[in-house]
Structure formats: C-alpha cells, structure tokens
C-alpha cells in the first residue's frame, strides 16, 4: 500500500488553465506538506498543514491554494497557470513531531 499517494503523476496543460493535484496519506500523520522541485532539482517547501490548519506558507503566489478537507488529505489548486509553474510537486507527511517526512512519488506538471 502506498503511504503517500498523489494524482495525477503527469499533467500537461496550457497557460491560463486551472488545475489541481490531489494528495492522500494513510500513515495517520497529522502534518502534510507540499514541496516544489524545479528543473535544477532544488527542493523548496511551499505549504505545511497540521490537523487541517495552515502552519507554513512560504512566499508562493496566491494562485497556489492548498485545501485540506481532513488531516489525511492535502490538495493543491493552481489558478491561471504560468510557464514558470512547470516543476515536480511533491506531497509529503509526517507525525506531529515532524521527525521524518515521507514523500509521495511526485506530480510532473508541464505548462505549455
């Protein structure tokens, strides 16, 4: 069973469109994250939610909006997609103590 699963794995879309990436974890963790990995493989945190409450909100355009319906899910919605949004987006989760973060397999977003 996949511990942190995210869909879709690949997404190709046109500029200006709105898209969502879904994430679910079955580890019973309280904290979930979204990370962005750019073309140079640099990994940057975008958001962190603890028990559905926003904890970390890095400098990210407000076109990006996370939604956490429950503590097992953290979806990422992106409005008005731009070319620079092309990247790999990783969902992750950890226990409240946050010692080890477990990552999903990533969602490859390409904006054309």
């Amino acid at each position: 069973d996949t511990a942190v699963s995210q869909t879709p794995k690949y997404l190709v879309t046109q500029m200006g469109n709105d898209k969502s990436i879904k994430c679910e974890q079955n580890l019973g963790h309280d904290t979930m994250y979204w990370y962005k990995q750019d073309s140079k493989k640099f990994l940057k945190i975008m958001f962190s939610y603890n028990n559905k409450e926003l904890i970390i909100n890095e400098t990210v355009p407000n076109r990006f909006s996370p939604k956490s319906p429950d503590k097992a899910h953290l979806n990422l919605h992106i409005n008005s997609l731009e070319l620079g949004d092309s990247a790999v987006y990783f969902c992750a989760s950890s226990s409240h103590s946050g010692n080890t973060i477990y990552f999903g397999e990533g969602s490859w977003l390409t904006v054309v």
Binding site: K41, N50, I101
Partner: protein, 115 residues
C-alpha cells in the same frame, strides 16, 4: 531559519570504493538532521536521521552518517559503493526546538558510481 549546504553538486566514485557526500548545517536550536535519496523520476526516500544519541547513525542500504557538532556537519558515508547507489542525495535539517515542522533541504548532490 535553519539551512543546509551541500558543497558538491556531483560526486563520482568507483564501485567498491568508499563514498562520502558532504553536508553542513545551520540552525539556532537543536539540529535534527536527515538524509534522503531520490532515484530518477521518483520521490524522496528516507535514508537515516540524527536526533540525539550516538553521533554515528546507520541507515538503509548500508549508509551511515556522522554528526559533528563542532564542525556543524552531517556527512553521508558508505564503506563500499555500488553502481545502484547512483542517485541524487539530499541533506535536510529541522530545528528541534522549533514549534513547526519546517524542514529545509540542501540543493542535492548527484552521486555517480562507476563500474
């Protein structure tokens, strides 16, 4: 805020030789240190961590890392490299005294093990 530096973009070693991937950190509180590995087109996989206790920690696939407080380092090591170890390695740090779960990653080091 905490940060991590991985000074080498690329490390090349021959199979069977020992390998070291370097990492230094900066944190105001207690350092919680981690190593992750990323294979092509995959997510990051946890290798090992240091929270407290012995400075030498052992992890998956024969990897180990040594916490050195005076040098603020947490280098990843393996006594004998395998071709299958070739991947991208990330060091990460979290402030153990922090009130959130903010983990910061280094820029990554690409390890290539040649037969």
């Amino acid at each position: 805020a905490q940060s991590v530096a991985q000074p080498e973009d690329q490390v090349n070693v021959a199979e069977g030789n020992p390998l070291t991937v370097k990492c230094t950190y900066s944190v105001s509180g207690n350092p919680y240190l981690f190593w992750y590995v990323q294979y092509p087109n995959r997510g990051l996989q946890f290798l090992l961590k240091y929270i407290t206790g012995d400075n030498l920690v052992k992890g998956s696939y024969g990897f180990e890392a040594e916490f050195n407080k005076s040098q603020t380092s947490f280098h990843l090591k393996k006594p004998s490299a395998l071709v299958s170890d070739s991947a991208l390695y990330f060091c990460a740090v979290r402030d153990g005294g922090g009130h959130n779960n903010d983990m910061r990653f280094g820029a990554g080091t690409r390890l290539t093990v040649k037969p």
